[in-house]
């Protein structure tokens, strides 16, 4: 099992300089599709190096990492939140803001003072944002489905296109390599009749790799909470928040020749839930069924003996069906969206370690809904080019992207980033990045009836980051810290507001400026049988309206609702022999719930404890884990009048069958 202290992307080399072209190859290969990463510490195509006593850590950069802040949640960190969902993991382990409607309800991620529609989520290179809503319900994504979750803070439209205006989340799945087999079974149970389980089978032989994952969950979510909404009992139990779901994920990849590989991944998911309402709404019969099918196929081919040319192609489709029914009102709302996606790209290494790449993508969005007068579809296409330079001391990239969308072409979208490792002190890295931003209106914004506004313009703006990172690495100590400043300016900000007759309609209304700073510290100490690590992250976010085309001129200068000024978390983790234990402290600052900042939700601090024991018996590895959430039973709300659970626990047993004792999994 990977240590909680080992980052999957850290490589150890005897000598940075002697690594020479090999290092560059590492860097270059970092542009491999995310899914192609190995769970071991080796990356395909790399020359072998002999480990020595002198250890230098080298970071392998993806384009979105240069000059910006990225928070990595690897499988070890995600294991702290065994079988929670991606929303809980991101809320606990990053400084992003999660708007959580409580267990059973939806949970969406907002980054850097923007909204959920401004955060793009990728899986296997394909965007998961709903074509109709523009957001991703992270409450339906169990962390066990992924080997890593990376959050790139800040706007990246020049590289990632629409929706990536506040940040991007990359859900990673790595494939097994070499001749290995692994089987893993996890069973979890906890408070409020929460039952979860998964079975994962992985096999690799002669270039063929397969990973199968089956997971299921059911939860009553009938937690007690302090009744503050109605007269009567002071303690009530949450009603109508049950959830059950099932998912299946299958990854296949085949290395046909040394330089050629194809892959296919499919992800099926179905869930049914009672949609909890605010506790001020006693009559609630809302239910929702979510079904999704996601399929991605692709391949890549290298040309030349030195991997200098690469062609990649990816195609995929994402189908989402939602059925919302409210027995109280008799309302039934069905929506079925399909995203068809294809992308081709080519990369060519030029002299002086400069890489030129370019490509194009085509997307077709189709949607039917009770809210649409007729089935709708629209094509969105893009062409992009990237020039980048990789060097051990500095790296940079320049992006140029042009998207096409019928009737509302977004602007030409340039972006650039630079990162420099200072020679005097190689542990200090500074960088900066800038990107033009755009955000295309969703299908609902354009076609919802009544209220849809086909004349909406794309939101557009700029994002800029500056970052300084410092790392001090010794054989037994690690110290890393980073400080980031950011600014996001978005024009033509879309907001729904009622028009004549109280019909809500989206309009390009505002100019919003979000700016702030983020800081992080990581300290780790390794001893013979013990390790400890301490991580602290903090974010300050000021997001205000600069201009408004509407009549709400007096909102100018006010903080946007549900954007906390302060977010922080700290995790202390210690392990000794087969035991691992730790606690996480999460602080969420006060959030305004009214646009004029006249009302707010109070800040809250939560303490979570976790402990696990790992045991290895021949080919079997057992792990027993216990997690205590909200240790001090703090009453808190992420969304106004939507209570969150008090103290709760989750106990889990995970067993892995690893025939090869040398496996590093």
């Amino acid at each position: 099992m990977r240590s909680v202290f080992t980052h999957p992307l850290r490589l150890r080399f005897p000598d940075l300089h002697r690594a020479g072209i090999g290092l560059l190859v590492i860097f270059f290969l970092s542009a491999l599709p995310l899914h192609a990463q190995d769970t071991t510490k080796s990356i395909e195509g790399l020359p072998h190096y002999t480990l020595s006593e002198e250890v230098i850590q080298i970071r392998v950069y993806r384009w979105y990492e240069i000059g910006r802040r990225v928070t990595y949640l690897d499988s070890a960190k995600l294991a702290q939140l065994s079988f929670s969902n991606a929303a809980e993991a991101l809320a606990t382990l990053t400084t992003a803001s999660v708007k959580n409607y409580g267990p059973g309800g939806i949970a969406v991620l907002s980054t850097r003072g923007t909204t959920a529609e401004h955060t793009k989520v990728f899986w296997m290179g394909m965007p998961l944002n709903s074509p109709s809503l523009g957001l991703v319900d992270l409450s339906l994504l169990p962390v066990e489905a992924f080997d890593g979750v990376n959050l790139a803070h800040g706007g990246t439209s020049s590289g990632a296109g629409s929706n990536a205006t506040g940040g991007s989340v990359f859900l990673e799945n790595w494939r097994l390599t070499n001749n290995k087999f692994r089987a893993q079974l996890g069973l979890f149970g906890g408070s409020f009749n929460d039952r979860k389980g998964y079975l994962k089978l992985q096999a690799a032989k002669k270039g063929f790799s397969s990973t199968s994952l089956l997971y299921a969950q059911q939860a009553q979510n009938d937690f007690p909470f302090e009744n503050r909404a109605f007269s009567g009992d002071s303690l009530m139990r949450r009603m109508h928040a049950a959830l059950h779901g099932l998912g299946l994920m299958q990854h296949l990849s085949l290395k046909i020749k040394e330089k050629q590989e194809v892959f296919a991944s499919v992800w099926l998911q179905q869930s049914e839930r009672q949609v909890p309402a605010a506790i001020t709404i006693p009559v609630n019969g809302a239910t929702q069924q979510d079904s999704s099918l996601r399929l991605v196929v692709g391949g890549k081919k290298y040309l030349g003996s030195d991997y200098r040319t690469k062609f990649s192609a990816t195609a995929g489709t994402s189908w989402e069906k939602i059925r919302y029914a409210d027995s109280a009102s008799g309302l039934v709302s069905r929506s079925f969206t399909k995203l068809w996606f294809a992308e081709v790209s080519a990369e060519q290494w030029l002299p002086h370690t400069i890489k030129l790449s370019g490509g194009g993508s085509m997307s077709l969005l189709q949607g039917t809904s009770d809210g649409y007068a007729a089935p709708v579809q629209e094509g969105r296409h893009s062409a992009f080019a990237r020039l980048e330079k990789a060097h051990q001391h500095y790296s940079w990239y320049v992006h140029l992207r042009q998207d096409l969308a019928p009737g509302r072409t977004p602007p030409l979208c340039p972006g650039a980033g630079i990162q420099k490792q200072w020679l005097r002190n190689k542990n200090l890295v500074t960088g900066a990045t800038v990107s033009r931003l755009f955000n295309l209106p969703t299908l609902n914004m354009r076609y919802w009836s009544p209220g849809g506004n086909p004349a909406l313009k794309p939101e557009r703006g700029w994002s800029a980051d500056v970052i300084a990172k410092y790392a001090l690495l010794r054989s037994k100590w690690e110290f890393q810290t980073s400080l980031t400043g950011f600014s996001i300016l978005l024009n033509d900000w879309i907001q729904w507001q009622p028009q004549s007759g109280n019909i809500w309609s989206p309009l390009n209304l505002k100019q919003v400026w979000s700016r702030g700073a983020e800081a992080s510290v990581h300290v780790a100490r390794s001893m013979k049988y013990s390790k400890f690590a301490f991580d602290v992250q903090y974010a300050f976010t000021r997001s205000t309206t600069l201009q408004s085309n509407g009549s709400a001129q007096d909102l100018i200068g006010h903080q946007l609702i549900y954007v906390p000024l302060h977010n922080a978390n700290a995790t202390l983790c210690a392990s000794h022999s087969r035991w691992t234990a730790g606690f996480t402290q999460v602080f969420t600052g006060s959030r305004y719930t009214e646009a004029d900042n006249s009302a707010s939700l109070p800040a809250y601090a939560l303490t979570h404890l976790f402990v696990s024991c790992n045991l290895r018996l021949h080919a079997w590895q057992w792990s027993l884990s216990l997690r205590l959430n909200n240790l001090f039973n703090t009453y808190y709300e992420s969304v106004n009048w939507m209570p969150m659970p008090g103290r709760s626990f989750m106990i889990g047993l995970r067993t892995s069958f690893l025939p090869s004792p040398k496996s590093t999994l």
């Binding site: 503050r228 909404a229 109605f230 007269s231 309402a277 605010a278 001020t280 709404i281 006693p282 009559v283 109280a328 009102s329 008799g330 309302l331 009836s449 009544p450 209220g451 849809g452 410092y470 001090l472 100590w477 110290f479 810290t481 907001q495 507001q497 009622p498 004549s500 007759g501 109280n502 019909i503 309609s505 209304l509 800081a519 510290v521 300290v523 903090y538 408004s548 509407g550 009549s551 709400a552 007096d554 909102l555 609702i561 922080a568 700290a570 402290q585 602080f587 600052g589 006060s590 719930t593 009214e594 646009a595 004029d596 009302a599 707010s600 109070p602 800040a603 601090a605 106004n640 009048w641």
Partner: protein, 351 residues
């Protein structure tokens, strides 16, 4: 190592400050207020936002938000739709919280919560003993006794019953269609609490008023159809009906694409005010249209103060921030304005 510790301290100190600097929200001082000598504005708040409020204005320049949460230790609720004064109490109808809060008009202390409706819209006093409430959720009119509001009789009406009016000894109920479409008015015998008849009007009747001549005015919103296609809309209409014969005496259709939604009447029952985007007025005795534009500004709710004769109209601004109430003289000139809560919808005036 020194660098490490120093850097740690640099980060840890501000963080420790932040983690301990959390302030508890302090409730605003409520004081000993008398909320019975002026104007009450019910502010819907946002659907699902549970931020309904009531604004009080003592007929001067400033409005104050009545701190319902502090007074009653619970929020007013989600989407307060209307309010009325009956039998010495103020009844606040909170649509999405499925309740009617019965509060003291002076202190706003709640004496009772009526929770026997699913989606209440309006309340109205029938006589000294009884009152009625419309309920979208059950498509019914509920009949209550003031001395026992926990039990009730109900009469099933059309879809989405909205406002009610008493005329010619009968109770008229506008069936707006709710989430669908209706074009009827239910006529109920208030004595026997039974349905007498259903009459057909234009699409989506929302508001009812009775003028000085005892005639029933019906404001129909019309149907949107496909919101983006004006050609399939049915226009809103303003009707005057003889409540005795149900004969239509006046029918004023609006332009295609216009969907009026609110109507009120002055104290003497001689002038009708309604919102069709801008604010319009029409004499109760008018034999033809069009109505005169009273104010070109777009408003959401209207009311007429029986004491001063001033016309009040509410501006929801952007529907997510606090709105405004404007005060007009009967000649159409603006007196002043005051701040309200989010989406000010309905007015109630002390006498």
């Amino acid at each position: 190592m020194k660098i490490t510790l120093r850097c740690l301290a640099l980060f840890a100190l501000p963080l420790a400050f932040i983690l301990t600097a959390c302030e508890d929200d302090q409730p605003p001082p409520s004081g000993d207020m008398d909320y019975s000598q002026g104007i009450l504005v019910v502010n819907e708040g946002n659907f699902g936002g549970s931020n309904s409020t009531v604004t009080y204005n003592n007929r001067s320049t400033f409005g104050v938000e009545i701190p319902f949460l502090d007074i009653n230790d619970r929020p007013l609720g989600d989407v307060a739709n209307s309010l009325n004064r009956m039998n010495g109490k103020v009844y606040v109808v909170v649509n999405n919280s499925s309740k009617i809060e019965v509060v003291d008009p002076v202190t706003f202390e709640a004496s009772m919560t009526i929770s026997t409706l699913t989606s209440p819209r309006y309340v109205m006093q029938l006589d000294a003993d009884r009152f009625v409430a419309t309920d979208w959720g059950t498509n019914a009119v509920h009949f209550y006794h003031f001395d026992d509001p926990l039990s009730y009789n109900f009469v099933t009406v059309g879809a989405g019953p909205e406002q009610m009016a008493l005329a010619d000894g009968k109770l008229f109920v506008a069936n707006s269609g709710g989430f669908g479409l209706d074009n009827s008015i239910s006529v109920i015998d208030p004595v026997t609490e039974t349905l007498i008849q259903t009459i057909t009007v234009a699409d989506a009747p929302m508001q009812l008023q009775v003028d000085a001549n005892g005639k029933l005015w019906v404001l129909c919103r019309g149907d949107y159809g496909d919101f983006n296609d004006l050609t399939d809309d049915t226009p809103g209409e303003l009707w005057r009906i003889n409540p005795q014969t149900y004969a239509v005496e006046l029918a004023l259709p609006f332009n295609v694409g216009d969907h009026p939604a609110r109507m009120t009447i002055n104290e003497t029952g001689t002038k009708i005010y309604f919102l069709n985007g801008p604010l319009y007025s029409i004499d109760a005795s008018a034999s033809a249209g069009p109505a005169a534009e009273f104010s070109p500004r777009w408003f959401y709710g209207i009311g007429v103060d029986p004491v001063t004769g001033f016309i009040y109209a509410s501006d929801p601004v952007d529907y997510v921030s606090k709105g405004w109430a404007l005060r007009f003289r009967p000649d159409g000139t603006v007196v002043d304005s005051f701040r309200t809560g989010i989406i000010p919808g309905d007015f109630l005036f002390s006498e």
